[in-house]
């Protein structure tokens, strides 16, 4: 909170770069950070994340009760929670919204986050057509009861995620696709949409009907869609933008010396996938040898140089989870493993391999460095090839590659957001790898109510993933880089890079 009232004399108009044109403002459809960055200020879920430590705090729900077996949550909604048109926000708004989010026709990529709710998956898959079979119901106008299929330790964090936000289903039905135009869009967050000029700006203004409007200090926020980060940086230098959510990598040396530059650890991992269905990667010894032959430090310290952490594990430390050891750089062990697999002098010749990456200068430099390391350390032939993004997606999904560049960013603060993608039938697996024990552990973790035990299970899963079977090779942990003008207050560093405008204000410009 501000120490004095001096902020009241400034315009309270924040301008920031959102890096690209938002694809949509439909909370049930969105997937990318530019969209999520706007959604958390326009809408509010039952809970909302603390801006600093990201612990779920009361949002639309004033408080909640959790049953002893931790599967039934009863939320009490604030009576003063209103929509931006002044009408009351009720429990049935949540029921209708989740029904919409769970309908395949809505087109939500994140619909499966709702599957922790009893009956949600069956309804989504069309095995059940009656929505009342799904474990969500309005007990009263301001009381919502949610039954989960099994305890979910991070459920209150999910209710702060856009897929769980309420929308005005009546407006969606009335206006069709146009419901999110500024004239129609009814929201329940700290801000409302005032103008959306594609490729020019999105303007949010304070929502006076928001239950906590007295707390909100910003009057207006403009999000720019500049994908030319050099232009964005110039605007920052001219003090026409307060906050940059990304920096032009070509000028990183210069920017790093600027006092307004910030860099924080980020909840994402850069890694390589191995196509485990193709020789020689069918042999886990080969995959392990390649992991051992990679010096991640060289990449983070000599190529990236922004404080990225070299890692050999997938999931960052979160909610008490401590990553396992992983396979760190060990040239001799790598050579020995490759020889054990039958390759080397006097044995089979290791076939030439290729690293596939989507066109980008950064991916190229890393792929070339890794190819060089593998050549140097194992004496094998490695090349790198780039393809355009959509071809890359196609080739990785259809397993038309040998080794490919990958990344994953966690959606919520629980290790499952990283580990679930490598279960055998997950569409994001893309390595052809399936391990019955790993899948079994994933099921166990999903049902386990005791957090300490869950963390143990995750550690076992990670050991399989990055020490024993190695269908992937973790390389580094992302950082979040940007610039923040010194007169911006109430902006907290956090690992997920979420910054609700609700907490931000400006001091004397």
């Amino acid at each position: 909170m501000p120490e004095s009232d001096s902020w009241k004399s400034t315009k309270q108009h924040l301008i920031f770069n959102n890096n690209t044109e938002p694809e949509t403002l439909d909370v049930h459809m969105m997937t990318g950070s530019p969209e999520l960055r706007l959604a958390i200020s326009l809408f509010e879920g039952l809970t909302s994340l603390d801006p600093g430590n990201l612990i779920p705090r009361p949002g639309v729900a004033e408080d909640w009760k959790i049953s002893d077996d931790r599967t039934v949550y009863t939320f009490r909604l604030r009576e003063n929670a209103l929509w931006s048109d002044g009408s009351g926000l009720t429990a049935s708004d949540f029921v209708k919204s989740w029904e919409r989010a769970l309908s395949p026709a809505t087109g939500g990529a994140y619909a499966n986050l709702l599957f922790c709710i009893r009956g949600a998956e069956a309804y989504f898959k069309g095995q059940e057509t009656d929505f009342t079979t799904v474990g969500v119901r309005a007990v009263g106008t301001h009381e919502l009861e949610v039954s989960l299929k099994s305890p979910c330790s991070y459920f209150l964090e999910l209710t702060a995620f856009p897929t769980f936000y309420p929308v005005r289903v009546d407006m969606v039905e009335k206006h069709g696709v146009k419901w999110m135009q500024p004239e129609q869009l009814v929201v329940n967050g700290a801000f409302k949409l005032s103008e959306w000029a594609p490729r020019q700006h999105v303007i949010l203004v304070k929502n006076e009907h928001y239950w906590d409007a007295d707390f909100v200090k910003l009057k207006k926020a403009t999000a720019l869609p500049l994908d030319d980060l050099n232009t964005a940086y110039q605007l920052f230098l001219k003090k026409e933008v307060h906050w940059l959510t990304g920096i032009p990598q070509a000028r990183v040396e210069e920017i790093r010396r600027h006092p307004d530059y910030f860099v924080t650890p980020f909840f994402g991992t850069y890694f390589y996938r191995f196509n485990t269905t193709r020789k020689p990667f069918t042999d886990s010894r080969v995959r392990r040898a390649l992991c051992l032959a990679t010096d991640r430090r060289e990449i983070t310290h000599h190529i990236l140089k922004s404080g990225q952490l070299p890692i050999s594990t997938l999931c960052p430390p979160i909610s008490g989870y401590e990553p396992v050891g992983g396979l760190t750089y060990d040239r001799d062990a790598a050579r020995k493993l490759l020889a054990d697999a039958g390759y080397g002098e006097g044995k089979l010749r290791f076939p030439p391999i290729e690293i596939l990456y989507n066109t980008s200068e950064a991916h190229k430099t890393i792929a070339e460095a890794i190819a060089q390391q593998w050549k140097r350390n194992l004496g094998i032939t490695v090349s790198a090839r780039n393809v355009e993004w959509k071809i890359f997606l196609n080739d990785t999904k259809d397993l038309l590659y040998q080794v490919c560049r990958s990344s994953w960013i966690g959606d919520y603060g629980d290790p499952s957001t990283f580990f679930e993608i490598f279960t055998g039938d997950d569409g994001n697996n893309r390595t052809g790898w399936a391990n019955a024990k790993y899948d079994e552990l994933a099921d166990l973790a999903a049902k386990e109510p005791v957090q300490a035990k869950r963390l143990e299970i995750f550690a076992m899963m990670e050991r399989i993933l990055v020490e024993e079977d190695c269908p992937i090779m973790p390389i580094y942990r992302y950082v979040n880089e940007g610039m923040l003008a010194e007169n911006v207050y109430g902006w907290y560093e956090n690992i997920r890079d979420v910054h609700s405008l609700k907490y931000i204000w400006l001091e004397g410009e």
Binding site: E21, E23, T24, D26, M29, T31, P104, A105, T106, G107, G108, A109, Y110, A111, N112, F124, K125, G126, V177, K178, W179, M180, A197, P198, R199, Q200, L224, P225, L226, D227, D228, N230, T231, Q234, L235, L237, K238, E240, E388, W389, K390, I391, L393, N394, D395, K397, S407, D426, G427, N428
Partner: protein
């Protein structure tokens, strides 16, 4: 008159061929509109495919697309699903056209001036300097020239805005960036054209009649010298209005160039069709007008 009619008749044929090729080529390219880093649930993908008719046989889709094309309505974009192709074109075509028109005017003005002066002072220091600059203009790509202009005029001198769209001043730097390579080509064509015309007999006649050099150049030589410039004008207009992708990005202009290129990269099938038809028709018409304008300038072509 007959040529004009004949040429007009070609337009729909060319467009049909273009539309057909685009329709099949974009579908042959690997990856679809809904593939993403985060895999879509199977049910959602199915629903989206049904919504956009992608679950139907290719020929049925083709027929439906032709019908859409005739109606001029391709429905919603596959990427920005809440906006229709029509809306996107209506919103982003005007900025491209305004910027393109400005750039063309600038390019002609700079090109013709530099080219004429260079020709009249052929092989002088001035000529060498002018032609040297044009080589730079042709070889300096927009992604270098744009940021340089930004640095000089917006950052150092603080005369013009860095980027954005809406205020007239915001158009100056992008229009200049966009016009540079074309101004350079116009200058070289103008110089060559002028030199050629000046050596012709009718100019000698005019000079021997005792006309002043000014009148010789402006009244007699200028028209003929313009022919190479005009023949390049059609392709130049087309290239300027379709090739503004980089400039739009650097200066954050909400133009159609980026929508056009990104729609192909995104495999946004509906938007690809819409933007291709707009740009395709535009290019065909520009080329046709450019051909027709020879006739106005050069009596020998008028037949």
């Amino acid at each position: 008159m007959l040529t004009l009619l004949k040429r007009l008749l070609y337009v729909p044929v060319v467009i049909l061929l273009l539309v057909t090729a685009t329709f099949f080529l974009i579908r042959l390219a690997p990856g679809g509109p809904f593939s993403a880093e985060r895999d879509l649930p199977e049910e959602v993908e199915k629903a989206l495919n049904a919504k956009f008719r992608l679950d139907q046989p290719m020929l049925v889709q083709y027929g439906a697309m032709l019908k859409d094309a005739v109606r001029g309505d391709f429905g919603p974009s596959m990427k920005h699903r809440e906006r229709t192709v029509r809306q996107i074109i209506a919103q982003h075509l005007p900025p491209s056209m305004i910027l393109g028109a400005l750039a063309i005017i600038l390019a002609l003005w700079i090109g013709i001036t530099v080219g004429t002066v260079s020709a009249l002072k052929a092989n002088s220091a001035l000529d060498y300097f002018g032609m040297g600059v044009t080589v730079l203009g042709i070889s300096l790509p927009a992604f270098v020239f744009g940021p340089l202009l930004q640095l000089l005029f917006a950052m150092r001198l603080d005369w013009l805005p860095v980027a954005g769209y809406g205020a007239p001043l915001q158009l100056v730097l992008p229009a200049l960036t966009l016009s540079l390579p074309f101004a350079a080509r116009f200058a070289r064509l103008m110089r060559a054209g002028m030199l050629e015309v000046l050596s012709e007999d009718f100019i000698r006649t005019a000079r021997s009649k005792g006309l002043s050099e000014r009148i010789v150049v402006l009244r007699h030589a200028f028209r003929g010298a313009l022919i190479p410039v005009v023949s390049f004008l059609g392709p130049a207009i087309a290239a300027i209005t379709t090739g503004s992708l980089v400039v739009e990005k650097i200066f954050n202009i909400p133009g159609l160039g980026r929508e056009f290129v990104e729609s192909a990269l995104n495999r946004d099938y509906t938007l690809v069709m819409g933007t291709t038809i707009v740009y395709g028709s535009f290019i065909v018409i520009c080329n046709m007008l450019s051909d027709l304008s020879y006739a106005l300038l050069d009596p020998r072509v008028r037949r």
